[in-house]
């Protein structure tokens, strides 16, 4: 009895015809959204296709994009990580606390945060696989534990990162911001990992059917734990990016960013199945960019913050409903 799958109907999926792991449809949608946004903004007298504006949209996508890549990885594996928001905070705070504005401590700061990421990912993965707890509950629990410890130790912006480190958040190589390069690198690496490494293959297998994977000799627990470690590491990268933007880290930067639910939303808008076994990082990237472009249009038209929230909710549900419609098949009627 696997308790790690979200959907109780997961076993039924075995008989379903696949829809492939192509992110093409999502990019197609992104193209459409982009074109419409361009048109709307230009008609409104705004500027859309300028380097500045495109840069701006790209940088807006980085923080969510990084962690959404990690979230995609765990979702493909049939798991889920609600603790990423606090992982972001833990990273931001500990990076600025360790670095204390000293360029010589940059490497140490990065090393510490990466180690923390590995540690939290291991705990998440082991709690889920060893104690057989639903990922939702397990990572909700670890998230609370992290928030408690973090808030007990730090109450505010603590320390700072050196100017040199802020290059990550603010500098650009030619027209391309460094942070965007980082995001692209992470996406490329994740793509390679999912598409070209054994781990990636096994991850899809575990998410698709843990039983099939087990019978094929895949060490399923190990795969899930690894996925959680990778997810936490992407949350660490988001934390590092944020702290480089903010110069200093505070305990609330993660939860205020809403990275837990938003990363899941971005992944599913990008075509990742919550039940596992299906999804691509390229799709997730498209999902993040769709949300960023929509945000840009919201900004241009000064859409009321509450209306924005409402529309986002509709977009997320609508996207997933469309995927469900596309995958609809003649099945039994209950």
């Amino acid at each position: 009895m696997t308790t790690s799958t979200m959907s109780p109907s997961a076993p039924l999926r075995l008989a379903a015809p696949g829809t492939g792991s192509s992110s093409a449809p999502v990019w197609f949608v992104f193209g459409g959204v982009f074109a419409v946004a361009w048109l709307l903004v230009e008609l409104n007298g705004g500027q859309f296709m300028t380097v500045d504006n495109l840069q701006n949209m790209a940088v807006r996508s980085v923080a969510l994009g990084l962690v959404a890549v990690g979230q995609t990885i765990v979702l493909i594996g049939g798991s889920l990580d609600l603790s990423v928001a606090y992982m972001v905070s833990v990273t931001a705070v500990s990076a600025s606390f360790v670095m204390q504005g000293d360029p010589d401590r940059m490497a140490l700061g990065i090393a510490v945060t990466l180690a923390l990421g590995v540690g939290v990912g291991l705990v998440n993965g082991l709690v889920i696989t060893r104690l057989r707890i639903n990922a939702f509950i397990a990572t909700l629990g670890t998230s609370l534990v992290m928030s408690g410890i973090l808030n007990a130790l730090f109450t505010n912006f603590t320390g700072s990162v050196p100017r040199e480190f802020q290059a990550l958040g603010y500098n650009a190589l030619g027209p391309v911001p460094v942070a965007v390069l980082l995001l692209l690198a992470v996406v490329a690496l994740a793509w390679y990992t999912l598409r070209r490494t054994r781990f990636g293959y096994h991850l899809y297998a575990v998410g698709g059917s843990a039983e099939v994977a087990r019978l094929s000799g895949v060490r399923t627990d190990r795969v899930v734990v690894t996925a959680h470690v990778l997810c936490s590491l992407t949350a660490v990268l988001t934390g590092l990016f944020l702290v480089s933007r903010l110069r200093s880290g505070a305990p609330w930067v993660g939860p205020d960013g809403g990275y837990d639910l938003e990363s899941i939303a971005a992944a599913v808008v990008g075509g990742t199945a919550l039940a596992g076994g299906r999804g691509t990082v390229a799709g997730t990237l498209a999902g993040v960019l769709i949300l960023a472009v929509v945000d840009q249009v919201f900004n241009e038209f000064e859409v009321n913050a509450f209306l924005k929230t409402l529309i986002r909710g509709v977009i997320i549900v609508g996207a997933v409903a469309l995927y469900a419609l596309r995958n609809r098949r003649d099945e039994e009627v209950f």
Binding site: N56, L153, R245, P251, D256, A305
Partner: protein
């Protein structure tokens, strides 16, 4: 005296559970150790004695400017020349808002929009909402700069430290930048608009309590959450006052601004201590909940502090509470528009535009109770005579 020890023991008990060190709960460095006569803990790392002294003094200074328009007044202004920003024609004023995620900001934002409408020389007020996210606000400011349509930029920073680089960048772009509410760690903005500040707020409330509460009376301090500068300074000042006075601060609790938690906490304290003689609040949003908790427990509402929100003022008037309401006026949202237009007209503005910060007391309570406005409306919006009042502020005509 006993409480810190008890806390310590409890923390150690939990630490064994959590596998974290006992010592780890020690607050960060800095701050002077206040006299440990009271349960107020260590002084906040935010406490700066000079700022404290300055704000305490500013409370007594008569501001310059029209007395009936406090948003145009300034305390001890040091004017700066703005001729280089002078610009003819109609202006597009850009505004990067930290968010409208609480009623205070909603009232303020409504007021600012109304102010902008008063000025025909404003072609547009372009506002972007960061929804409480530092990173989004940084990008928002970048975006506004990229759009190249702003004549002036108003920033209400989400957090001080995080927004400093973005504001610096905006200054470097040559725009006149106006910062209000929270500050930034740079003096590049043309003007920084804010009421006197948190020390004055916290001190006013604390002084009222120490004045009204009997000797060795028990005071409960309720704070929203740690780490927010505006709120930290309020507590820091109150702590200074309490430490000097003969009162027993039985607890300092964080409430997350959640009324249910406030009631629970007050209830717990009443159970533990039997009675409480005074409640200090770092913000007024949950003052009503705190007062009700006493009523629900069948006790008289003790000396309590609040803010200029209608629900509290009405309760105060109705129940004849012993209360005081220092304010953090929402009329400060009018000033940035005025300042922006002054700057674009080349008029001098104060480098640091310190607005007066009235205190609502029993004597002037009547003038601030506005029955036609919603319960979470902030009385000191300075908006009573603006077009669209009160319906734009959610009130009935």
């Amino acid at each position: 005296m006993r409480h810190p020890l008890r806390t310590m023991l409890a923390v150690c008990g939990a630490a064994a559970l959590l596998a974290t060190g006992c010592t780890s709960t020690a607050p960060e460095e800095g701050g002077d150790d206040g006299p440990a006569g009271s349960g107020t803990g260590q002084q906040s790392s935010f406490f700066v004695q000079a700022d404290y002294d300055e704000q305490i003094a500013q409370r007594a200074v008569t501001p310059t400017g029209p007395a009936d328009q406090p948003w145009l007044q300034a305390i001890s202004p040091q004017l700066v020349d703005t001729a280089k920003y002078k610009k003819a024609g109609k202006h597009t004023i850009c505004f990067s808002n930290a968010g409208v995620n609480n009623p205070w900001r909603v009232v303020g934002w409504t007021t600012m929009q109304a102010e902008a409408k008063l000025h025909p020389e404003i072609a547009a007020l372009t506002a972007v909402d960061a929804e409480g996210k530092d990173d989004k606000q940084i990008s928002d400011i970048d975006g506004l700069l990229a759009s190249k349509k702003c004549s002036a930029l108003i920033v209400s920073p989400n957090t001080t430290a995080a927004l400093t680089p973005a504001v610096e960048k905006a200054c470097q772009a040559g725009l006149p930048v106006i910062v209000f509410d929270r500050g930034v760690n740079t003096d590049c903005p043309v003007t920084f608009i804010h009421p006197i500040g948190g020390y004055a707020f916290g001190a006013t409330a604390a002084e009222f309590l120490t004045d009204k509460v009997k000797k060795d009376g028990k005071i409960l301090a309720l704070r929203i959450l740690p780490g927010v500068d505006v709120l930290e300074t309020r507590w820091a000042a109150a702590k200074v006052i309490f430490d000097k006075a003969d009162v027993d601060v039985v607890g300092v609790e964080f409430t997350d601004g959640d009324a249910a938690k406030v009631k629970t906490i007050v209830n717990d304290y009443l159970e533990r201590h039997g009675s409480i003689d005074g409640v200090w609040m770092d913000a007024g949003a949950t003052s009503v909940a705190a007062a009700e908790a006493f009523e629900d427990a069948g006790q008289k509402v003790p000396v309590i502090t609040g803010e200029d929100q209608q629900d509290f003022l009405r309760l105060w008037q109705e129940k004849k509470l012993t209360a005081v309401a220092p304010t953090y006026p929402t009329y400060q949202w009018r000033t940035p528009i005025v300042a922006a237009l002054d700057i674009l007209a080349g008029k001098q503005v104060p480098k640091e535009w310190v607005l007066p910060q009235p205190t609502i007391t029993e004597e002037n309570l009547g003038q601030y109770v506005l029955p036609q406005l919603p319960p979470l409306h902030y009385a000191l919006c300075g908006c009573e005579k603006m077009p669209g009042f009160p319906q734009n502020w959610g009130g009935d005509q």
